[in-house]
Amino acid sequence: MGAWMMAAMSFRIVTFLMACAASAGIAWGLWGLQGLGPGAWLGALLWFALDARGAHRLLAALRGGNAAALPTRESGGLWGELAQRVRKLLRERDKQVHQAEDRLQEFLTAIQNSPNGVVLIDEQSRIEWCNQTAAQHLGIDVHRDLLVHLSNLVRHPDFVTYLASWNYSRDVVIDAPTPPNRSPGGLRAHPLRLSMQVHAYAGNRRMLLTRDVTAREQAEAMRRDFVANVSHEIRTPLTVLVGFVETLQNLPLGEPERARYLQLMSQQAQRMEMLVNDLLMLSRLEGGAPPPVNQWTPVRALLTPMEDEARALSERLVPGQGHHLTVTMEDDAEIAGAVDELQSAMSNLLSNAIRYTPGGGKITVCWRVLPDGQGEFSVRDSGPGIAAEHIPRLTERFYRVDRSRSRESGGTGLGLAIVKHVAQRHGAQLHIHSTVGQGSCFSLLLPAARVQSAAVFSKL
């Protein structure tokens, strides 16, 4: 660089001297010796004029801010070189800016894809930037709402106080502001619960993180409900038992009465036992090893004991009348999985049908292999049916369509929860169709991988 500068400077001096010398030479030729001095002066002036023109062109290009209009090196001299240097510098700066922009874009894309909502807020709490998730959570329009005050759009009093407090050591949980463009009449059945946490950075700029905690809160509520339900379900028979024990202790009773009370006590004790068994079954299903895929059981072996059990239950519930129970097996097949679990699931479905169908009703159990290889176990009854709003919640633990009726028929409230768990573990699906007044159909659809029709295994 230094060497080049020296070269350029000496080049300048040389051209200057050459201009002076050339002009002096011409003047000498024209006017003789006395023209020499003014000729040199004229040459110097000419040189300066040309030089000034080059400088002016460079300055004009720089003023215009147009890098392309900068004179090229070929236009010569110091100014051309200078223009070239400026252009090179600009190009490098441009490249850096591009790189920085790309990096920024990458960062923004990363934040854009974060599962949490992110809103950047300036010192006046206006929205500077927000990602799609936050826009969805808070009902913000990503483009239109820039520089709108955040607390004007998210107006929940708790959040407004929180944002203004400048104390962000904890988060605040609010109901999501309903997106204003939602269909009218949309009920707020499950409002989105949002956890809002602000972090201050770079002085008084802030970043708001929003997290959807609906599922977490629902899970907590479910856990609370479950514990409350279990205690309630266990306490009910226990209260009855305690009552009878006190009666037996305090009152002198005749033998037949004693026998009757003991009979009732044993019923309650059985109910408690059933409940505890079901609970244990559920916890086994939740924590147990996955069901085996190569342990094959003939469906017939599952259906036969289940049918006997069902007939006995039907006889006990409606003595003398019973139900019209038909069990059909369209295809002989084997299924793979945990035998006891499958048996429990199937017999739960059947015993439900018997419990909820009045005496004399029709119950049809059917096993068949569908054309695509899936196995379908279905229980169809002619009971009272289930209203559509209850169906999605049927598999919840202790969910009862009608509290009084369910308890007198002696269920634990865990049957369908067990069926659902068994189905999930075996990759099966539980379908429930029901029409009020006409009856219901529960079907268990086993995946093709777990079903082997008789035709196939007889060939082997």
């Binding site: 006046q124 009902g139 329009d141 239109r144 709402d145 709108v148 005050h149 607390s151 004007n152 759009l153 107006r155 929940h156 009093p157 959040f159 407004v160 109901d175 502001p177 309903t178 204003p180 463009n181 939602r182 009218p184 009449g185 949309g186 009920l187 707020r188």
Partner: protein
């Protein structure tokens, strides 16, 4: 909510007062949501909470009005700023009234619960109308924050839905009252409750009209829907 002025102090004053109104709107929204919850669960505790919030809303209204007066006196605003300030004053009044309606709802819920006839009446059917009204107010405040005239126009149209829900509900209540005269006093409470909900929708509608007033300078109160649409379109084609 406002554009740039030479005096940045004025700007920040306008912003501050707009924020105050939105904050008040947030409180009223929460109050209405709580009142709806109280109605759905027939919960007197939530109802008490709603009635307590009312004091805060009232205090805010007075405070905002005082600030407004001081701004108008000191800055002598004109044109859009004056319209904005006038609209803020009216929006505040409307919000306060909406809060009053929530308070009324809470009082009715308490009276229904104490009357003991709650479960036999179709109180839950008010839920649809109540959610509509609450969503409408939320939408109106959003539109106010964004000064969005299109949203304002759709609010004006939606208010009819609530009105028809109200009519249907009253008809249903009449059948209940004819069946069993003992339900009359509770039914009357429910009618007032339904009326309060319907009024909340009306206040949301008023706020929507104010938005058009701020942005377009056209007073669209007591104007037919065609005329309002015409006003908006004409201004759009001019600007």
């Amino acid at each position: 909510m406002s554009e740039k002025h030479l005096s940045s102090q004025f700007d920040s004053e306008l912003n501050a007062i707009s924020s105050r109104v939105m904050e008040m709107g947030g409180i009223v929204e929460a109050q209405i949501d709580h009142a709806i919850d109280a109605l759905a669960d027939l919960d007197t505790q939530i109802a008490d909470q709603v009635m307590e919030t009312e004091l805060r809303v009232n205090a805010m209204e007075v405070e905002i009005d005082r600030e407004l007066l001081s701004i108008i006196a000191r800055r002598q605003p004109a044109a859009r700023d004056l319209r904005l300030l006038m609209a803020i004053s009216k929006a505040t009044a409307n919000l306060e009234r909406a809060g009053d309606e929530a308070h009324k709802m809470a009082r009715m819920v308490k009276s229904i619960v104490n009357g003991g006839m709650a479960r036999t009446l179709p109180g839950n059917e008010l839920r649809v109308a109540a959610d509509l009204a609450s969503a409408l107010l939320r939408k109106a405040l959003h539109a106010l924050a964004r000064l969005d005239t299109n949203a304002a126009l759709s609010i004006l149209k939606e208010d009819d839905l609530i009105d028809s829900e109200f009519d249907g509900f009253v008809r249903k209540l009449v059948t209940y009252m004819m069946e069993d005269p003992r339900t009359i006093s509770a039914s009357l409470d429910l009618v007032f409750l339904a009326k309060a909900i319907e009024r909340i929708g009306d206040h949301a509608k008023n706020i929507a009209e104010l938005i058009i007033y701020i942005v377009k300078g056209a007073d669209v109160r007591h104007t037919s829907m065609q005329d309002i649409e015409f006003t908006l379109q004409r201004d759009e084609s001019v600007s």
